[in-house]
Symmetry: C2
Subunit: 188 residues, 2 copies
DNA sequence: GTCTATACGACGATAGAC
DNA sequence: GTCTATCGTCGTATAGAC
């Protein structure tokens, strides 16, 4: 193992922050170098595929991070509703109450390459699938479970768009709040 | 009035299509020239402010078009529910069943300039305001009317994001379908 | 594995003829 | 009002020393 000034995880984390706040096209290699602390040529050593590979790796990493850090409580023990509320708190922290953008949205605008696009699709489908499992555990049949899961994710994503455009984060807070009712099929 | 090869409305329409499908940063002046049929220098004659002004004008135009072509039925006559359904059909046509992106989303990723960003905020707030008026007409107080309107818009925007990322347009269809129930406060 | 230096094309924007 | 031609800058990516 040769020594590395910046670890792989650090590298991907910093790339994630940059891509999320600036988008793919607007993140130039100069800014990437500044944000990561590595020179451009060093970046090509770590990511031989260039910017597109960076985006793909970021998209892949966020999928894992989402599963392990955010959605993990859903596959645990305890009352289902409480576990959903915990996921809501995780999401609220992850998106900083609606202030931060979602990579699924930001990265899919523009042309981050096939690998990244496919990784984003996996991330989106994975998120929906986890929510759908919860809804099915709550008694919903396959079709309605999928619908509830998609609606829940869409509600969050849309609220983040609204927050970015208008600055109003209220819809995001509501999207998080109604998560239990929506997934458990107790829509008010 | 001097003769123009491409009318102002044609110009803005073509710019709208390009920005919506490619995003702001990815729409280069060469592609803009190709899409509009004008040379780059001619474009600077029509838009002295360059790309940023193009984005701002597009954002402003889409606000008007949304009001006159999409949301118009809401300020008309007839049963409220039927008018909402008509708006739903308009939205479904406008977004081609979830296939097309939303300018509010796409253009707000990246850096289209202050004028465009402010115009986008106006567009988003205007859309919400029209929906809120409907909800208030249906008997909701100011606060819940605003909430329902934001949730309705967010549901549509999020479904469009989901459709773009995963390719599944089902959530968009549902977001349109539940528009009447949501705005009229008959959430299922 | 990281660096300095550089290649070279595409970018947004402008000059000036017609 | 539109064009051809061009400017300077910044983009991604590479070469080669250490």
């Amino acid at each position: 193992m040769p020594p590395r000034l910046v670890s792989d995880t650090q590298l991907v984390d910093r790339l994630t922050d940059l891509f999320r706040s600036e988008g793919f096209e607007a993140s130039s290699l100069n800014e990437i170098a500044k944000a990561t602390g590595l020179q451009k040529s060093s970046l090509y050593h770590r990511f031989p595929g260039g910017k597109e590979q960076m985006a793909a790796d970021v998209a892949t990493a966020v999928t894992e991070r989402f599963a392990t850090e955010i959605l993990a409580p859903l596959v645990g023990d305890g009352p289902l509703e409480e576990r959903i509320r915990e996921v809501g708190r995780n999401l609220d922290a992850f998106y900083e109450g609606g202030e931060r953008r979602c990579l699924l949205d930001v990265l899919s605008v523009g042309h981050p390459g096939r690998a990244a696009s496919s990784a984003l699709a996996d991330a989106g489908n994975g998120w929906v699938a986890v929510f759908a499992t919860v809804a099915r555990d709550a008694g919903a049949d396959e079709t309605t479970a999928l619908a509830r899961a998609q609606d829940a994710v869409a509600g969050i994503e849309g609220a983040l768009v609204l927050a970015r455009v208008t600055g109003d984060k209220a819809a995001f807070a509501r999207a998080i709040d109604r998560l239990p009712d929506l997934l458990l099929g107790r829509a008010s």
